[in-house]
């Protein structure tokens, strides 16, 4: 987590959208989106399939026209100054596409001709440099048609980096990459961030996003449901795991915690029960890890003694699932509701769950 913090983060917005909206007929693919991406951010753009990520990226790049709202990049409105904006961006939109009859390096040559770069051999060193970054140098003469999926994706990243842009937008860049490739891309993103580049990364691999991004936005059905600092969002999702000495005490402890939560402890967000690998019941208290001692004290006050008390780190997965779940899915998103456990416990004298 620590190396993800970029030295050049200076709070200047690079991307700022204002009420950006796109409707395809009746379907509102992106609704009233207000995004802020700061210079030096490694910004994770998350959301389920069809939530409008690619549509947003397309609007930012001027490929599709917004139905309402506007997008400002580098301080320029993209409805008016698109060419100047695009010169400063390298992007992959969905699966990269290239000319199938050209080799990798020849594709880069054509792209350079369309990126404001000088023609001819002048930029040959740069083509080789970016091919080297994505480890395609040995395939540079192979026609694109014969590239594997991962090689295509790598060429897409090479093309995005070609003109050394200050903003790199990657729409699911690890799609089709092997595990080593995924790790390489993570490292590459971290290197780019260290150089002061701003990265806008749309991805479904939450663990990767959690590792590289300092800020995220989560979309659900075209609506922005969360935007913020990754560390802060994770802190909100911290939990304390409580294992009681005796299985029989679980129910009692739950009741105590529930009662306390309702009456005094507003720092407890949610309580649930989970079973660990040893089929022991674990009480999960959604509370900052710093509250472990308070929980212990509360239980002790009722003569209940925890055998173990563990802080559990928040995961982006939990943040994501909560933000993107439909209301009725919410309770099933990660663990078993307390009430269900209590019901199950009263049916079953042992207190185990089914």
């Amino acid at each position: 987590m620590s190396e993800t913090h970029t030295p050049l983060y200076d709070g200047t917005p690079v991307i700022s959208t204002q009420r950006l909206t796109k409707a395809f007929g009746n379907l509102v693919a992106v609704n009233d989106l207000n995004l802020q991406v700061m210079r030096g951010d490694v910004f994770g753009f998350l959301g389920p399939n069809g939530s409008g990520k690619t549509t947003t990226i397309r609007m930012l790049l001027g490929l599709i026209h917004p139905t309402a709202g506007r997008a400002v990049l580098f301080g320029m409105d993209n409805a008016y100054q698109l060419p100047a904006i695009l010169q400063r961006i390298g992007a992959i939109v969905e699966t990269p596409t290239f000319y199938p009859y050209l080799s990798g390096i020849d594709n880069l040559r054509v792209i350079a001709a369309n990126s404001g770069m000088k023609l001819g051999g002048t930029n040959k060193a740069r083509y080789e440099e970016v091919l080297d970054i994505v480890e395609l140098q040995q395939y540079q003469r192979l026609v694109y048609r014969n590239y594997s999926l991962g090689m295509k994706q790598r060429l897409g990243i090479a093309a995005a980096l070609l003109a050394d842009p200050e903003l790199v937008m990657l729409d699911e860049p690890t799609n089709g990459l092997d595990p080593a490739g995924v790790i390489e891309i993570r490292k590459l993103i971290q290197q780019l961030a260290a150089l002061g580049k701003t990265i806008f990364l749309s991805s479904h691999i939450l663990s990767e996003v959690q590792q590289v991004c300092n800020r995220v936005a989560i979309l659900r059905k075209g609506n922005l449901v969360k935007q913020g600092d990754v560390k802060e969002l994770l802190r909100e999702k911290e939990q304390v795991e409580v294992r009681m000495q005796r299985e029989g005490e679980v129910q009692e402890a739950l009741e105590v915690l529930q009662r306390v939560r309702e009456q005094e402890a507003s720092w407890i967000n949610h309580i649930a029960v989970e079973q660990n690998a040893l089929r022991q019941s674990i009480i999960l208290v959604d509370a900052p890890s710093a509250r472990s001692a308070d929980i212990n004290m509360l239980l002790a006050r009722h003569n209940l003694f925890a055998a173990e008390l563990h802080p559990r780190e928040g995961s982006l997965e939990a943040v994501y699932l909560q933000a993107t779940a439909l209301p009725h899915q919410f309770s099933e998103a990660g663990h078993i509701e307390t009430q269900k456990f209590l019901n199950a416990a009263s049916d079953n004298t042992k207190g185990a769950i089914r």
Binding site: H65, P83, P96, V110, K118
Partner: protein, 302 residues
Amino acid sequence: MSKVSPSMTESLLPMPERSKNVVMGNQSFISVLGRSIAGELYKIRRRAMSKVLSTIAIATIILALLFTNWTSSQPLPDAIYMTLSISNFVGSILFIILAGTIVGGEYSVGTIRLMLTRGPTRLQFLLAKLGAMLICVCITIISLIGIGIITWMLLNLPVGHKIDFSFFTGHWIQHTILFILAIMLSLFTYSMLAVCLSSWGKATAAGVTGVLIWWFLENAISGLLALLGSRLQNAFGNFLATVPDYFIDNNLNALRSNQQNYLMGNSAGAINDLHAGIVIIIYLVVFGGLTWWSLKTRDITN
């Protein structure tokens, strides 16, 4: 180019230096367009299709000259005009296919996304395609004339025929050059139509079949209107009979055949050069304008 947004409240972020390995060129509209055209020509050159099409064109010219020479030897100017007529006919078909492909292919492969997110505007994208087509037309016609002349020489000089340079007068040169330009304009006009239709239809087939249908319809309607006009024998009939004078094919034909008429010492045919020139220019402007407008307003998704 760089209109400033009316509601701009943000301050422009300065652009950091690029890596020293990235050598940028001039960013004026024309320079950007020039590099885009160079990129288009590079792609055309590297396509297998261009090689196949050129081979077909060259083979047709050589075979036609071989055949005519086989029956009786023809003088050089006749061979040049034959080469030009064949180039016009074969070229029309080949350039329609090429123009349809270079535009439709961007949509079917999805590379249009790539092209439109690198900096050049949609106008520059379209102009680059048209510029590349124009350059290809010129290069092709000039090369085919060269090939025609060389073939004629190979067939005639070894068997003792001499070149009679008496045809090579200022008058001949003038009208031959204009005839060549008229052919280039014909090929470019059809290429333009193919570029436009395949851009509208987002597919190669839309351009190729679209132009063929256009061609067929023009000829069918011309015939029909001429027939109707002669039957009606009144003002409306006369009007109908003049409608085909505004068709693409008739005007391009007129531009070419007028030069041949002048060369023979005759006067222009039914459609004069000025009329034909203006009609063709209007078509080009309308096709180009509509295509640009549809491209500009379109959402690029696929």
